[in-house]
Amino acid sequence: MSEAAMMETVDAVEIDYMELDNIIEKDFGQNKENLIMILQAIQRQYNYLPRPALSYLATKIGIPMSQIYGVATFYSTFSLEPRGRNIISICLGTACHVRGGNRVNDKLEELLKIGDGQTTEDKRFTLESVRCIGCCSLGPVVKINEDMHGRIGSDEVEKVLEQYE
């Protein structure tokens, strides 16, 4: 994501700095070594990593913003853009791959008109591919929020999506 695009999302969300302090100080002892888990906690709070929260975190634990940006872009769970109300994780692990996970993925991309890592315009869905959630016996698997949809066929995708607002 470009610097300009990052700036655009600045006022997308209001940051509760007291809550942020709680996460950084209370839960993780303001410790640099806990950076990844702090970022996970921030993402749980806002559904993505808002830039102002990251700037605040940088000064708070004394790590340059560049390093935080490095970590946030290195690990695949982190998102610097706001994500949709429903997160679709399509498993593209080997077991799902050989059982036709790609066809399900193609269908999802076709229906939602978005690609991997993107969010629909109405913010209803974000599509993310993951490599193996360990439910190989149920492959191909699609996880939407916390619900697991196993042994899903590409012709069943549309019906499943209807359940989510």
Partner: protein
Amino acid sequence: MKIQSLEDLKKISQTYEKQIYAPEGIKVNIGMASCGIAAGAQAALNKALENYKDNPGVEICQTGCIGFCEQEPLVEIMATDKPRVLYQNITEDKIIDAIEGYMAGDFSKNKKWILGQLKDPRSLLDDDLENPLNGVEPIEDIPFMEDIPFYSTQVKIAMRNCGYIDPDCIEEYFAKKGYIAFLQALKNNKAAEIIDTVKASGLRGRGGGGFPAGIKWATCAKHHGDRYIICNADEGDPGAYMDRSILEGDPHSVIEGMLIAALGIGSKQGYIYVRNEYPLAVKRLVTAIKQAEAYGLLGENIAGSDFSFKITISTGAGAFVCGESTALMSSLEGKVGRPRAKYVHTVEKGFRDSPTNLNNVETYANVPAILLKGADWYTGMGTEHSKGTKVFSLVGKINNTGLVEVPMGISLRDIIFDIGGGIPKKKDFKAIQTGGPSGGCIPEQFLDLPVDFDELAKVGSIMGSGGMIVMDQDTCMVDLARYFVDFLKDESCGQCNPCREGLKQMLDILTDICDGKGKEGDIELLEEIGAMVQKFSLCGLGTSAPNPVLTSILYFRNEYEAHIRDKKCAAGVCKPLFHYEIDADTCTGCTLCAKKCPQNVITGEKKKPHVIDQGNCIKCGICYESCKFDAIKIC
């Protein structure tokens, strides 16, 4: 209560032994690992709890992975006067019927739900107990679990308690001889003896490398500084989920293994680095650590001794490369997970530049059993250089998907055809991929190979963490190689050229081949780049990354050639290289394909052969999958 001695532990165990083996009334164990829950176990559990909330004679409990994932949700029902029965596919709508049928002693009505009955529920560590099922009359016409091919060759050590105990209940782990090995070792207070036993057992690291655990422990113990014990639970190999199952089904076996390692090596602090994608494993670990702390088995002055040990959980954030030990340690320090060259080993300078011992989940889970039963017992299983058992996850195109723990040295054929029940829909076996994305594809001619660390290496593959992905005639080997390289290119940390650039070039060539743009010389070029990446990459991810490509070229060169020269993909995977045709002689005109076709390009009259309009077909494969008469052919 803080446990001070073995006697304290035994007192608690005795009460819970009864709960595990001889419950009063009826006990129902529902397999509540992630995959069980995904298949509907949570709903079944809730339903049963609600239904029997006023009936103290029926106890509804959760347990971990029972192993036979294909038939989830799995439910085991037991009483003292009847055999223990394992039921399969017990969803919300069936659970009450199953329990009522068991209570009434009526097994004929629900016979098709029954997987089998147990002869002996004891684990390998429980042989001093009397078999609680002695004297119980077996049920007629129901097979014994011990005779069912899926279970008969299995020997459970690492997974000894999975599916038998409630993972959220430390006392049930006590009752399964838990923490005895540790407390005995603590009282003897001879660190060197612990390490010698692990060395003598020949236990090799189960995470992939297969380095002898005892030697690692001994080397780490020699270096001075604050030593750390790390458990690698960043199980990233797609298709491998044994570590998740152990953590979800028996977290204390891992904690006890780490405690023993800490005692042997001399460490005060341990870390468990778990994948973020495994929320249930994290939750059960947190509970387990709290319980162990409450009993004084973790923390300061454990069991009244001067030994102290703490365990902290750290979650990963979705980076495959963090399964590599140096990358994992860097990630634990809150940094980007990039591996470093290992000219200085992590046992000398690892986490925080201190001596660090890192093993994976399955390795630690084996340790308490080895200490309790002795190294000789452990070396009695397995092959010359690979002792004990290994857990494999059998997935892909296989009838009995599941987790199996078998002695090392068993043949691939036995695993696939006896335990795994062969290939679904009577299709032909093509290859088995072992060792995750860095492993190799093994063709049929090597199926009688005994599975151990060294034999798999001889045919160009690796043991890895134990994922086994079975492939049939519908799997395209070129596409699969491209899949793995695509995965590894994404997961490459990008700091060394051979891996970052080499994999990208290999991916481009493979994508061209799959798109029908392959050229003469591509295969040789892939071999050349592959050899370079293998030789010059910095870490294990890079040096093993070309394995799937090189082994598939070695054993399936003809498929590559068919893609490049004839522009054909016989498996029907690479879309530009095949089309579907309906065989007029086999088609019965049932109209199913025409109804299912999302493009509406299949036409034909009822009971007459149908035709596909090739121009508008998108090759989605729905007709091919749904045809009941195999009338749709890949051409």
